[in-house]
């Protein structure tokens, strides 16, 4: 039951496991959603999806899975012109063995097809203009005979169903999808190097060793010693170059981003284009009106934040060195000055470059930036990452 549905979800990389699938079956068994497409959509989403980032994938998978029902419509519309054999194989593909057996028992496929045709012709007369024919009044061959386990639900509660279709076809949650799981393992391992545990904050833990020794030296009179707990104390500011020449590398960057999210206690990602100027932004879709001033960043974050740039640093030299050099806007001060300011504000700063190191020599701008960064530019490879992290954690 619903195994194909579950498989479709997996194909679309909705991270759901057997446990979630069993939950869904359990929920259906408890009649939490019965014969209602929208309810089914809700309940399956509640059970299978555990993060709003995956809603979009779920919506896509859901509409893909139930698209079969739409294409059934087309099939019906064209039923007269389609060779019977083709249709037969198409239906065999759609139905399981048991269902086919049941079809056989109720008069066989040919009988069903005959009914289809009759109904088709009838409907052709009644509704013109390409209405959805299947399911009107719940009397379609499918509905009446109950042959399609998933299709059945569509036919009831029509208006609600339409609304639901809209829900998953709107794909409201597209913006929240930042997931790239493939190949990030290595990156995670490299980033873990940066983890640094430190005892900070209020003394909360009983330090047993120290308590014993100080009690002993206190002539047996109890002297309790406390220590602060260990925390992962690394704080990171990430800056991604986005757009233009970086497009081929966006995937790599996203991998890094999704790896980094889980690794640090404090991590703030920002975007810029080509070179850093007086402002950066957090959401690339709204970059024109939701910008953060670079000054604000420098004031807001303390100097122990580690700054990581990710960009190819390939641009026209004047984009770094000249007033008004930016390709997107008028910049009052050259990018080099802003990079320098960042360097003065924060203790540690690195630039990760997805361009292979062997090609670095060809670009003037790259070398200018490398110079500003005090040579702390590393290729975006596992080794480069490790080198960069080693420097940052020094």
């Amino acid at each position: 039951m619903l195994i194909d549905f579950f498989q479709t979800m997996r194909q679309y990389r909705v991270p759901c496991s057997i446990r979630e699938y069993l939950d869904l079956v359990g929920a259906l068994k408890q009649n939490l959603a019965f014969a209602d497409m929208e309810d089914f959509y809700q309940i399956s989403r509640i059970c299978l999806v555990k993060d709003e980032r995956h809603f979009d994938k779920f919506d896509k998978a859901f509409s893909h899975f139930f698209e079969g029902i739409d294409s059934l419509d087309d099939l019906l519309a064209n039923a007269k012109s389609i060779p019977e054999d083709w249709m037969k194989s198409e239906f065999e593909r759609m139905f399981s063995k048991e269902e086919l057996a049941e079809i056989e028992s109720q008069g066989g496929f040919d009988e069903l097809m005959k009914k289809f045709r009759e109904r088709m012709e009838e409907q052709e007369k009644r509704h013109r203009g390409g209405n959805r024919m299947i399911g009107t009044g719940g009397t379609s061959p499918f509905g009446a005979d109950g042959y399609n386990p998933e299709g059945i639900r569509v036919q009831q509660g029509r208006s609600r169903h339409k609304k639901a279709i809209k829900v998953w076809e709107q794909r409201n949650y597209r913006n929240l999808d930042d997931d790239i799981e493939l190949g990030i393992r290595n990156i995670k391992v490299a980033l873990r190097r940066l983890r640094k545990f430190a005892r900070q904050g209020a003394a909360e833990e009983l330090d047993l060793d120290d308590t014993i020794s100080s009690t002993a030296s206190n002539a047996g009179f109890l002297d309790i010693k406390m220590v602060p707990e260990r925390h992962n104390a690394v704080k990171v500011l990430l800056f991604f170059d986005i757009g233009g020449t970086m497009d081929p590398f966006v995937r790599v960057c996203e991998e890094l981003f999704s790896a980094a999210r889980t690794e640090f206690k404090h991590m703030e990602p920002y975007y810029f284009h080509n070179c850093m100027y007086e402002s950066v932004w957090k959401d690339n879709r709204r970059k024109s009106n939701e910008r953060t001033s670079t000054w604000d960043l420098m004031r807001k974050f303390t100097k122990d934040y580690k700054v990581i740039y990710i960009g190819d640093a390939m641009m026209a030299p004047y984009e770094v060195t000249h007033v008004g050099g930016s390709v997107e806007h008028w910049n009052d001060e050259p990018g080099a000055i802003w990079l320098q300011r960042m360097k003065d504000t924060f203790d540690k700063m690195v630039w990760l470059n997805p361009v292979p190191e062997s090609q670095w020599g060809w670009s003037n701008s790259l070398n200018t930036i490398k110079e500003i960064m005090d040579d702390k530019m590393y290729p975006l490879t596992i080794n480069g990452l490790e080198d960069a992290m080693r420097y940052l954690s020094k």
Binding site: P15, L32, A33, Q42, I46, V49, E52, L222, I224, N289
Partner: protein, 278 residues
């Protein structure tokens, strides 16, 4: 036992479905959504509508998972032993029950709210896996197994400040509270201020949704801000005409809607620009 919202709380169909699924299948329900969409309130209202006790466990950055189970106060036991207090031999005198233990020992299944779980350390959810799954835990100091008499209904809220581990998520049901559309919003307002004048409400809603559309706001006003703002409008007997007057661009009492300096500044700038245009 079906939850359908209460007199003071409007629950959408999806939310009702999520809550009922969680109750029926006895799973913790993880609730996310914009701040101010009533995540915490849900637990309060759920407890009320089910007529059961609400146990709230508010998570802070320093909260540890075992604090929810129990705490063994070694320090005061050490001190007491030095002073030769009575009862120092019995370790159970120094075991303090946590919120989860409390929820496990209720006679009726209570509603347990684990509020803002994302504020805690990364390892926090992982430390609660078994407890939420089996609804039992072991007290090492007294060698005692605590098993829930009734599985509590667990509502967990998160503001997305941290990722929650997969293993934890697998054990929960998940619902994301969308920002309510105008229709739902009107219902919500109706629940809070049944006697609000229709015209005032309409104008106020327009202003509110327009304000949410202003690009660049650091914090968009949400439901709870709207409710507060309406309270002020009512108290000051602002008439709908003032709201309709779009010349001023800044809504009256905007302090209730806009919560930070930059946003206020932005609005004032916009107001200035629109005045100049006019």
């Amino acid at each position: 036992m079906k939850f359908q919202g209460t007199k003071e709380y409007v629950a959408t169909r999806e939310l009702q479905m999520a809550v009922n699924a969680a109750i029926t299948l006895q799973r913790p329900l993880l609730i996310k959504g914009e701040p101010g969409t009533g995540k915490t309130m849900l637990a309060e209202q759920l407890a009320e509508s089910l007529g059961t006790e609400l146990i709230q466990w508010h998570i802070k950055s320093t909260t540890k998972a075992h604090q929810g189970l129990y705490e063994y106060d070694a320090v005061s036991r050490l001190r007491d032993s030095q002073l030769g207090e009575e009862g120092v031999k019995d370790i159970s005198n120094y075991i303090k029950k946590g919120k989860l233990w409390e929820a496990f020992s209720g006679d009726k299944p209570p509603v347990l709210l684990i509020d803002e779980i994302d504020k805690a350390d990364i390892e926090f959810p992982n430390d609660l896996l078994l407890e939420l799954d089996k609804m039992e835990f072991f007290v090492y100091e007294t060698q005692e197994r605590i098993v829930a008499k009734h599985r509590p209904i667990i509502i967990i809220t998160s503001n997305n400040e941290k990722e929650l581990p997969d293993a934890f998520l697998r054990r929960c049901f998940f619902h994301y509270i969308d920002f309510p559309d105008k229709e739902t919003m009107e219902k919500i307002v109706d629940v809070h201020y049944p006697d609000i004048k229709k015209s005032l409400l309409k104008e106020a809603m327009d202003v509110f949704f327009d304000l949410r559309k202003v690009p660049g706001l650091k914090k968009k006003p949400s439901t709870s801000e709207l409710v507060d703002w309406l309270k002020l409008l009512l108290a000051d007997e602002i008439d709908p005409e003032t709201l309709r007057n779009k010349d001023s661009a800044i809504p009256p009492m905007y302090g209730a809607l806009v919560k930070n300096e930059q946003d206020t500044e932005l609005l004032q700038k916009l107001a200035f620009m629109s005045r100049r245009k006019g």
